[in-house]
């Protein structure tokens, strides 16, 4: 991680917790750790603008019992729609945005529709509904991922975790 920070001396580091996200217009090294959770990165090459979130669960409407969750970034679908709406308000067209999808690991012997798989499916479906192209994805499997997003360049570095604490279920 230190090597990456040294590689981008003009970027400020920022750790994203679960249910956090945002748009970054100054160079930022956004990093997070994903198990079943999903992150989608949005990069707008010609405007120096980027966005990312770290969402825990697939669709907000399936989980809201009484009132809206205070963070739109807790759920994959509302996180994508929120960030896309915020980018559009800044004058960004969907055709300028390069999206990538990460995370969605499942525990060994997980049921077929695990949370990880449903998170990824929701990400792909919501992006498709909005007409946003997925340039690349690295999803599924049984291991967690650490991801680092250099928002100034759009580069993404992913490392699979070997720590056994992130291999099993909770």
């Amino acid at each position: 991680m230190q090597d990456l920070l040294e590689r981008y001396p003009d970027h400020r580091p920022l750790f994203l917790n679960v249910a956090q996200g945002g748009i970054y217009e100054t160079p930022t090294i956004a990093h997070t750790v994903l198990g079943s959770c999903v992150s989608v990165t949005f990069f707008v090459p010609n405007r120096g603008m980027a966005a990312i979130f770290h969402a825990l669960l697939p669709r907000a409407e399936e989980y809201r019992l009484h009132e809206p969750d205070p963070s739109p970034y807790k759920f994959v679908d509302t996180a994508i729609r929120t960030l896309f709406a915020r980018l559009e308000r800044r004058g960004v067209s969907r055709y300028e945005i390069e999206c990538k999808v990460f995370g969605g690991a499942s525990a060994l012997f997980a049921e077929e529709m695990s949370v990880g798989r449903r998170n990824v499916e929701t990400a792909f479906t919501t992006l498709s509904e909005l007409g946003l192209r997925v340039a690349a994805s690295n999803v599924g499997g049984e291991r967690g991922r650490k991801i680092v997003f250099a928002t100034g360049t759009g580069e993404i570095f992913v490392k699979f975790l070997s720590n056994p604490a992130f291999l099993g279920g909770r």
């Binding site: 090597d3 990456l4 750790v33 990824v120 192209r133 690349a136 499997g141 604490a165």
Partner: protein
């Protein structure tokens, strides 16, 4: 030198992929899934398995999903442990949710890159799979990091 099996029915696309991988890999090429399967089986039989598969989806004979699933079955028959299977990148012009999901959850791909692609995007995927140098250090997850698999 690591060996890569490039599978695409377009000779031009195979050329682009080979160019993107540069001199880091020794490439073999197949124009459809059935030819890929034959090359993969022969490589296993002589004890010189591939280190990477880059697979298109829309191809004659066997499509990419079917070919990759067959490769996973071949590996299992040869006693390759599930965590030692050859890394595979699906590289396709299909960018719909169904194909991206199927590739990585059912067919056995570790990553998906959409055409048209840049060499940087493909190399980024390979970096994740540990096939090109990753600037991550050796440090692992920090204490207190929040996300689990459940």
């Amino acid at each position: 030198m690591p060996r890569v099996l490039i599978v695409d029915d377009s000779r031009y696309q195979r050329h682009l992929i080979s160019q993107a991988l540069g001199q880091a890999f020794s490439p073999d090429q197949a124009a459809d899934g059935r030819e890929a399967l034959a090359l993969f089986a022969a490589a296993l039989d002589i004890g010189a398995p591939y280190d990477l598969v880059v697979m298109d989806i829309l191809m004659p004979e066997l499509n990419g999903h079917e070919a990759l699933a067959a490769i996973r079955r071949l590996e299992a028959e040869h006693g390759v442990a599930p965590d030692k299977v050859v890394p595979a990148v699906m590289l396709s012009s299909l960018d719909d949710p169904g194909n991206m999901l199927r590739a990585q959850f059912d067919s056995g791909a570790q990553a998906y890159v959409t055409k048209p692609f840049t060499p940087g995007t493909l190399l980024e995927a390979l970096m994740t799979l540990g096939l090109v140098e990753n600037p991550f250090g050796e440090d692992d997850v920090e204490a207190g990091d929040p996300c689990k698999i459940f």
